[in-house]
Subunit: 395 residues, 2 copies
């Protein structure tokens, strides 16, 4: 392979790889060399689609139902998602407002592309899901970090939004439950924020891809807010369909024609086999399976949080959803990336460094994902204990 | 649904819907009302994936092989595509240069996003595939039309490129076979063009998604050119996997790290079931099936071209590939969009107006797609004949 330095678009300087990819690559190399690694770095459920969903996918393949669907998705699937909002949230969402997309990634690309002009700002929580700011950069917008911390449940406040909002600010993006912290935004705060954003002529985008994976009272959808809002969701997490690449966007009705036109041009449509399979994801059987899995995730969280606390990690806010624990590791040093590397090499435990989620207090945090079985989590904690003890004895 | 006028990003003014979508919607409405419509507007093969490909997809679903793959695709699939270049073109393409993408759309998005800064120009043939210029607009680049016509086989010349190339020109994009014309670019012209582009520090992107569907001698891939080039391909057309959403990009090696980083952020990965299925698309059985289909497409072309000529359509250049005939309909008026509408209403034949492919001579052309069986094509031609006779008698 040649190694000439190519002339890249300027945007590429702002689109960084994830450090966790290096962690993952090193973990795979260690495994190839015979080491056993406990994976607590992976942001993907260990469960795949339930049997009924797989069966629906198989039936579609066998029937040759693999042509393009309409750009906004199979009408029956848009109806099914509307039914989901009715059944789970008591909300009446017109199917015409729902666009089926290639993953939540596709939904975010559509939303930002119809909203952002070059130089428009998008407010994003730091820490937060790193791809979000890269989508903004892709479209020549400017991502502005909203530093959040445990004192506000890792979510922004209405006052913070009001103080940071400027003439070029176009959007605020929130996630609830959030990645990497697993925390929810309270309904009261969300309502106050939405009012502030609306008063300023801005647009609120809410990422609800971890909805369903909440371990106490289920939160309302941002679609219940009085003002217009864009909501992004996905079949990946709660529905266990990561690699199928299927998500959806609910948009204010006046944006739908532009979104459809854009989807037609940049995707043609979301994957057809996945759309047919997803029709079965709202069945009673599938729902029961998803609820069983939610219990399993809850058990894992209920084991992991106190176990990490007992080892000296700081977890000021108990995560309420998703499958992450964002833990303060400053008791063990001020460079969480170095901590992750040492932990992997010495103890065979893979976790994600805080710097993958932004800059704010990143050096003192790591993210644990509980996307592996309880026995493996126990093994991970045992290894962590030994690792930290040996470290303590060295220091 | 509200009808407020939303504040859209400026790019949306440049991203237009396809007129054929109106044609299609009207055709569906007529069908719903009981009319029989001959569909010659659809740019999607009527064939779906062969049995072996479907079986591989089914096996992957059943085995739960539906997690995310690496961002650049399954290593085995990248190897298989490299094997395809070896077997069909005698070319040695390193698998590391091959990125598996969500359709050719995903490949084009990646290529343009790593290449284009705002205001950078991309030269695109007019007529050409309409989404291309919309991708350029999405990324804040400027699409510059290269008017081409039958005198140069609907392909640009090296002299034309040299004369139009300016200080902000970054890329030239070609398609061979081209949509809507089905014509190939000659190897000699392509080499001369590539030299011109390279001398100017530009980048050549070649769309080869209709490779395999060529009815005389198979053309070489642009990857055989001496200089670096981006090649876009797809499992949709020759491989019959449209709705699976799978394509690939072959890039110069020095661009691969940036492309992978971007893919990781904007797609995560291409659909996993499709990737597993596509592994079977290079088998001997599948290949034999694809070759049988190629013969069927050839028969359709060999019927349709002379039949349209006999009716008075102008087809100066015999299409060599894809499944399109771009026909001059100026004998029947100067507004091809109006012609398409009348043809649909009066005769129940759906075709695509030239204006969907650009401005250059668009009003005097329509595109016929032979993506339906020979019997239906014969019926379409019979209806056309009656329609044109009645029109003639009226006029």
């Amino acid at each position: 392979m040649k190694t000439a330095s190519p002339r890249l678009a300027s945007r590429m300087a702002g689109i960084q790889p994830f450090h966790v990819m290096d962690v993952l690559a090193r973990a795979r190399a260690l495994e190839a060399a015979g080491r056993d690694i406990v994976h607590m770095e992976i942001g993907e459920p260990d469960f795949t689609a339930p049997a009924g969903v797989v069966a629906a996918g198989v039936a579609a393949l066998r029937a040759g139902e693999t042509h393009y669907t309409p750009a906004a998705g199979l009408p029956a699937l848009r109806e099914a998602v509307a039914g989901h909002y009715r059944a789970c949230y008591g909300l009446d969402v017109a199917p015409e407002r729902i666009l089926i997309t290639p993953g939540a990634s596709g939904a975010l690309l559509l939303a930002l592309a119809v909203l952002l002009d070059p130089g428009d700002q998008v407010l994003l929580c730091d820490p937060g899901y790193p791809c979000n700011r890269h989508f903004v950069r892709l479209l020549e917008g400017e991502a502005v970090a909203l530093p959040v911390d445990a004192t506000t449940h890792w979510q922004p406040t209405a006052e913070q939004i009001a103080s940071i909002w400027g003439p070029r600010t176009r959007c605020l993006m929130l996630a609830s439950p959030a990645n990497p912290t697993g925390t929810l935004i309270s309904e009261t705060v969300l309502r106050r924020i939405e009012t502030r954003v609306r008063e300023r002529g801005g647009v609120l985008i809410v990422d609800e891809i971890y909805h369903g994976l909440v371990y106490e009272e289920a939160p309302p959808s941002a679609l219940a807010l009085p003002g217009p809002v864009f909501v992004i969701n996905s079949f990946s997490k709660y529905f266990g369909m990561t690699g199928w690449r299927l998500g959806w966007l609910v948009a204010p009705p006046e944006y739908v024609p532009a979104l459809e036109r854009l989807a037609q041009n940049v995707f043609l449509a979301a994957p057809t086999p996945a759309q047919h399979a997803a029709l079965a994801a709202f069945s009673e059987d599938a729902r029961a399976e998803y609820e069983r899995r939610r219990e399993i995730f809850r058990e894992r969280r209920d084991f992991l949080v106190p176990a990490l606390e007992a080892l000296g990690f700081g977890i000021t806010v108990r995560p309420q959803g998703a499958f992450y624990v964002y833990a303060d590791c400053s008791a063990f040093g001020s460079d969480s990336l170095a901590f992750c590397r040492r932990l992997l090499e010495a103890a065979g435990v893979a976790v994600t460094p805080g710097c993958d989620f932004g800059d704010h207090e990143a050096g003192r945090h790591v993210r644990f994902a509980y996307t592996t079985g309880l026995e493996r989590l126990r093994e991970g904690v045992r290894r962590l204990q030994t690792f930290l003890q040996e470290r303590g004895e060295e220091g």
